[in-house]
Amino acid sequence: MSSGTSISRNRQAPSLQGVDPETCMIVFRTHWAQVLKILEKHDPLKNTQAKYGAISPDEASTVQNYVEHMLFLLIEEQAKDASMGPILEFVVSENIMEKLFLWSLRREFTDETKIEQLKMYEMLVTQSHQPLLHHKPILKPLMMLLSSCSGTTTPTVETELVVLLNQLCSIMAKDPSILELFFHTSEDQGAANFLIFSLLIPFIHREGRVGQQARDALLFIMSLSAENSVVANHIAENTYFCPVLATGLSGLYSSLPTKLEEEEEEEWHCLLKDDWLLSPALVQFMNSLEFCNAVIQVAHPLIRNQLVNYIYNGFLVPVMAPALHKVTVEELMTTTAYLDLFLRSVSEPALLKIFLRFILLHRHENVHILDTLTSRINTPFRLCVVSLALFRTLIGLHCEDVMLQLVLRYLIPCNHMMLSQRRAVKERDCYSVTAAKLLSLTPVCCSTGITLTLETQGKDYILWTKGAQTKDSGRRSSESTCIVEYGRAVDISYLQYLGEAQEAILQCLKDCKVWSALYDGVNPDPATFIQTLAEENSTDVEHPMFRLQQRTPSTCSASQTTAFGEKMQLELEWDDSYDTGISPGSGVSSPQPSDDLGSTEVQPPAEPPKHIQEMKKNAIMLVKGSYIEESDFQDDVMVYRLCAQKDTQDDDHYKEKTLNAARECEVQSQTVVNGPLAKSQLETDLDEHSKRNSSLTSGVMKEQTNQKMTEIDPQPDLELKLSPQEADRSLSVRLLSTDGEDFIAQYDRIIKELDPNNANLEEQKLDTPDLVSPVEEEDDFENFSADTPSAESMSPPFGPKEDVSPTHASRSQSAPFTGPFISVVLSKLENMLENSLHVNLLLIGIVTQLASYPQPLLRSFLLNTNMVFQPSVRSLYQVLASVKNKIEHFASLEKDFPGLLLEAQQYLLFRVDMSNATEESQTKGNVQHSSNAGRGRNLSEACPAVLQPFLGQRGKKGLAQPGLPAHVRNAVLAAALFPEFLKELAALAQEHSILCYKLLGDFEDYY
């Protein structure tokens, strides 16, 4: 029956070459006369008998044959000039197409007939030598056909329909005037406007070829809409295009696997293209996401805005947010990996913007997504690895908003450094002092082993480029020299690091050109910044950025107060450990009566990440024996490990729990130790609250939660009278009230800060388990979660005011804090020896990315070793020095350290070789596949055949000697990595010293 195609395929176009057009016309007319005879015979208007006589198969096929010939003639007709050819004119004047369509209607209008007709039109519009669609007698039956196909469910009809629609759209894209015709014809029909468009919508999320063709077709229309606001308006206002697209994402997301098989791989931490191509569901989702990206790229701003909005409110908030707070670690890992993948896949700024906005500003159950993600870096699970990968992606975007929220806002006030140092922020390191200092941290024990040197050094100098890169030719070689003594070994890898550093910094410089400020300690001005924050604090609830979220149909209630109330109860039901942290009253030495706990005085807890709560809950249940394993709950392994790794867990829970306390604690310290000046002021203001330490805190918190007791809120009044000193405090308060959860990771610092004797974080960690007897663990899990040390160590600020010594006050006053992210990354880095290789590689990647930023505030914090910071601020250099000591300590204990180190170095080099080899082979073998996607994939998977012979001693398994305990292996690998990391940082510092002048300058001609 597929006559249409049979014509196009079997008949050769040249067969009509040279045939007289008039002959063709005559043939066409006679054919039509034959056809018409049959048609009229069955036309009830022309023949009263028609309705009784059934159409015989003979007649049908006769018509079919004639029509085939006619169409062929029509297609082959060459138009002269702009006028219609005679056949076309005849078709139009006789209204042949409509008659044919009615004929098919009169017969049984089966799917087969539809397909036949669809194919016929497809052939006509694609192959005809003259434009046909401008003629209403052709367009109208086409539209009738299309509308008769709407709502079809037969796959074969759908396929043909989409093919035709796709063709029509591509014709429209070439000739926008046709768009108008379609648009208005649909109006005439009274059918849904712009039929073609409406017909395509149901196929948006379809998988396979049909979906792809439909999306391509829609993209044609989208790019047309950019020029045609009538179409844009129509799409935005009268169609469900944007909602369908956005909610479709949600639908597709829900069918994504909640666990990924790759998790079995040790190295797995993010989804590469090779990975997701294996999952059809994910492919489908990514197709739709890429389609959204494309639509936003080409469509009219009206459509773009609407779509972006729907994606935010219809996908990110209601779907992604809860998904990021799932119950099991595996689910969380998967979701995080998805989010990371999405971020890496989205290229259109407008779309990227809402993803970032979601991460940075959206609050799920009152916690910023960003804070939740940050807190997960500190989990002992592999969730940390996935989260780190996500942050690496975020930082790699070079987006001002991200960096502002993550790091810079904590550095702008310049509280982290000594006052005298502020002018040094912009200083540059002319003589590579920082590089020298960093490199001198190379542990003595690591200087053995592999060093890369040039094979021969015949000259008294080496040409850097030639020496390092012999491969590239052709390009004008810039032959500069480095002064190197004869015969001395030069660390070639360092040259590489310098090159990479320069590349990274220049790229970052380029991307940061659009940033709003220099972040050099002067702009934005620290004082103004603090004031701005304070002012914004008072009007926070009305702030547009929150309004958006309140309107969204998320689980997050518009009324925060109720949400809090409910939350509190929920929490208290299963774990009262939060009390200690949450309520100042429960502090050991706090005078606040415990009755207040449930009252409005009790402020909302800083939400711990929900997954932590859940995991903890599970752990508790497990320990108490009440845990019933669910069939699909795979996480019990995790939970077991959770219990087994008590030390880590102690730390962690301890941390998590106290994280809640952090913000409380912070406010406390702020309030109490604010110095005599502020205190009197506060006291009078807060008289009615019996001068309880927590009053201000509560007040502030209440303000935030929009509770009724606003009269006690001292903030707005206070701010007007703020002295500079005060301003610091109000900054902190402000930070707390709008996003107090930012302080989640601050706990360690606060402890240190509050207890002068306890300067070392390590000690804290060691202390904790001691306080919880292992025996008690089983029957009182909460106890260990709600362990007392935190409360005790926090007791000073909770105690009577007299206890607050002036020194204490002055120390805490400025609350130097470099932000939760920096804190957590640095503390994780400090534990390099305990981390797995992958965690370390990611950490190193993140730190070097951060160190590539040209902003003086960031650069001076990370790379200026001469900078003097506040005692409580831990600098990167300090952390590195501590790692160095740990490595040296470890080396002194480990008998065969040099041997192990050598093996580790070989392994790392081997890893590099392998990934290079993989990359090369891919590039050579398959152009389609030459993307970087495959690079860096698991070694043994990437290239098993090549790998096997070498794997023996130095491969992955070779290194993981059966007898070698994991912690030794991790430590040795860390020791091998550490010197390389130092080189990377030193190279960045050196490059900064010669590139920083480009911040304002014209670096473009440099490229």
């Binding site: 590469l272 908003d401 040039l454 950025m545 001609d1005």
Partner: protein, 293 residues
């Protein structure tokens, strides 16, 4: 006819390592967002991994060794940093270019635009000690001994010591020497001169001094097109005006100022993400049409 200063390369010294690398096939040039795993750098083809013996002797001296093996890098970057400072200073009429062979030798030229030495074009070479910045101050030697109280009539060396008796790192920079070299031609100092004749004439017989200066300036100009004293690919070479070469170059120099702005506009669209309203310090504070409403 103005002699055209035909230093072909740009004023910024070619960076030794990076430019080439970006195109090299060996180096992975993946954009940040797609690169997924942190790796050690690849190993150059002609490099040999050397396994050092783990003897206590080697490890003992390694702290020194760290500095020793990276010392050249520190020096190179110190000099690069100095050079970027020179570029940044934009000293009027002063141009320098480090040599091809050694970063410790810079070629330069000074154009004197008014005063006694007006129309003087003096080529010079700066020699930087290899223990920079901890050694003596760099030396500045004119190719031809200019008639000047502070310029040695035989060697052509400028008396830098009087201004930089002791070279202090962080305080003294090479651009200061260049600025000093320029200033001596505008503000003449005759105390303890290297060229006593010039000093005496300046004090006693300014007319004769002037005519000697004019002779000196003429002499320098007459040797302007000479081959450079030191053979080096990056030496500064003057050639007579050649419209075929120089017209185009001059055109380029004159139009260059507009270009960066255009490029800037272009790059705004291409890369860089920021939705922060200037001055607000709040994320997503910039008012935009794309703002979700």
């Amino acid at each position: 006819m103005n002699p055209f200063w035909s230093m072909s390369t740009g004023s910024v010294r070619k960076r030794p390592d990076a430019e080439e690398k970006t195109l090299s096939g060996e180096l992975r040039t993946s954009p940040l967002r797609t690169s997924t795993k942190k790796q050690l750098p690849s190993i150059p083809k002609n490099a040999v991994p050397i396994t050092k013996p783990a003897s206590p002797a080697t490890s003992a001296q390694s702290t020194n060794g760290t500095h020793a093996s990276y010392g050249p890098f520190y020096l190179e970057y110190s000099l690069l940093a100095e050079f970027t400072l020179v570029v940044k200073q934009k000293l009027p009429g002063v141009y320098v270019q480090p040599s091809y062979r050694s970063a410790l030798m810079w070629f330069g030229v000074i154009f004197i635009r008014h005063g006694l030495y007006q129309d003087g074009v003096f080529k010079f070479t700066v020699y930087i000690p290899d223990n920079y910045p901890d050694g003596d101050s760099p030396r500045l030697v004119f190719d031809l001994p200019v008639f000047h109280p502070l310029v040695d009539p035989l060697s052509g060396e400028l008396d830098v010591k009087r201004a930089f008796a002791k070279w202090r790192r962080n305080h003294n920079h090479i651009w200061q020497i260049l600025m000093y070299a320029r200033r001596v031609f505008y503000k003449i100092d005759t105390t303890s001169p290297l060229n006593p004749e010039a000093a005496v004439l300046y004090e006693k017989d300014i007319q004769l001094f002037k005519s000697k200066v004019v002779d000196s300036v003429k002499l320098c100009s007459s040797h302007l097109f000479d081959q450079p004293k030191i053979e080096d690919p990056y030496a500064i070479v003057f050639s007579p005006w050649n419209p075929a070469i120089h017209d185009e170059a001059r055109e380029k120099m004159l139009t260059q100022k507009k270009k960066p702005e255009e490029q800037h506009c272009k790059s705004m669209h291409v890369s860089g993400l920021s939705w922060v309203k200037p001055g607000s310090v709040q994320p997503f504070s910039k008012e935009e049409k794309t703002m979700p409403t």
